[in-house]
Amino acid sequence: MSEFIGDWHALLVLVIAGFLPNEVWRMVGLWFGSGVDEGSDLLVWVRAVATAILAGVIAQILVTPPGALASVPDWLRYVSVAAGFAGFALARRSTFAGVACGEIVMLAGKWWLG
């Protein structure tokens, strides 16, 4: 098992920095969820913050790209996402059309850059 997963340290890191931070929010939701009214101001605020945090995570991946994405120049990453959003809007909010559009622009840009 130690070959396959890594040492106990790697496993501990996974539990502390990966499993617990996510599971805590799910279990808090399960525990308190039944008492919260769907239309309440509190939930509207929590949802707005959650959406903004997800937007921040998206921006983080674009601004400080992981792995191979770092090989794509900054401007091309931003232009690709903007193109994806334009495709999404033009194709009547189709996620698939938007994703395809963004990917094509990125691949075309890389090809053009050589």
Binding site: L14, I16, W25, A52, A55, G56
Partner: protein, 245 residues
């Protein structure tokens, strides 16, 4: 995908409902996005020297694409466990309102909380979106079994994708790997935009994107939390003010 009508005997056993949940995995384009995302996570884990078992276990235990990407890339860039834990905790706050909003659809009036633990664990963007789409076609007393089937199916697809991504990583052309990693921000941005119903949601998305680059200059380690709370609160305040003005 057509489901049997609500009163059909097809829904009489839990096992059948589980099987319908499994089958529903093949009915959505999001499965494809998820497959590609986890292909990318597998490749990223390989490039940052995590073991295959570790990344598979992270998919089982964490089950949230952006959180796994944040976890692997922050640990890979030499951050401490505490810094990584804070970054992941922050990216995971969004799971709370998801669980709160979807559980009323899954549970019956008498369902005890402990029967919802596994279903809650499966909740992440994809399952959350699919529940709103599919659950109205499933009889209420079989929804837990259905969600278990759907969740297991999606996890299985992602584990397979992890293995393929991990093994291919060494031979994956860089362009292809970059294209896979771009899928995550694109798919999450667009599926969130699609789900925006109120003014507060739209503002939160736009402001959240705009404020992060500013907050990241603070280098606090919790930049996403700062920009997220600021943008979300402004968005909420604008909607609150418009409704009452």
């Amino acid at each position: 995908m057509p489901f049997p009508p609500l009163e059909s005997p097809q829904w009489q056993s839990h096992l059948r409902a589980f099987a319908w949940g499994l089958r529903a995995v093949g009915s959505t384009v999001l499965t494809l996005v998820l497959f590609a995302t986890y292909l990318g996570i597998g490749a990223l884990a390989h490039d940052t020297h995590f073991s295959l078992g570790w990344v598979l276990l992270s998919t089982l235990l964490v089950w949230a694409g952006p959180a796994q990407i944040v976890l692997i890339s922050t640990l890979g860039s030499g951050a401490t466990v505490i810094q990584a834990a804070i970054a992941v905790t922050v990216s995971a706050v969004r799971l709370f309102p998801m669980v709160v909003s979807v559980l009323p659809m899954i549970r019956g009036p008498q369902t005890p909380r402990r029967r919802l633990v596994l279903a809650s664990h499966f909740i992440a963007v994809t399952l959350w979106l699919e529940c709103f789409r599919l659950l109205p076609q499933v009889p209420r007393e079989r929804r837990i079994a259905f969600v278990h089937g759907l969740g297991c199916g999606l996890v299985l697809v992602c584990l397979v994708a992890n293995v393929i991504g991990y093994t291919l990583a060494a031979n994956l052309p860089q362009l292809f790997a970059a294209a896979i990693l771009l899928l995550t921000p694109l798919a999450f941005l667009l599926s969130t935009a699609r789900n925006c119903r109120q003014l507060a949601d739209i503002l939160a998305l736009g402001l959240g994107l705009a404020l992060y680059p500013l907050a990241s200059r603070l280098h606090t380690g919790v930049d996403v939390l700062i920009s997220g709370i600021a943008a979300g609160t402004i968005a909420f305040a604008v909607q609150w003010w418009r409704e009452r003005a």
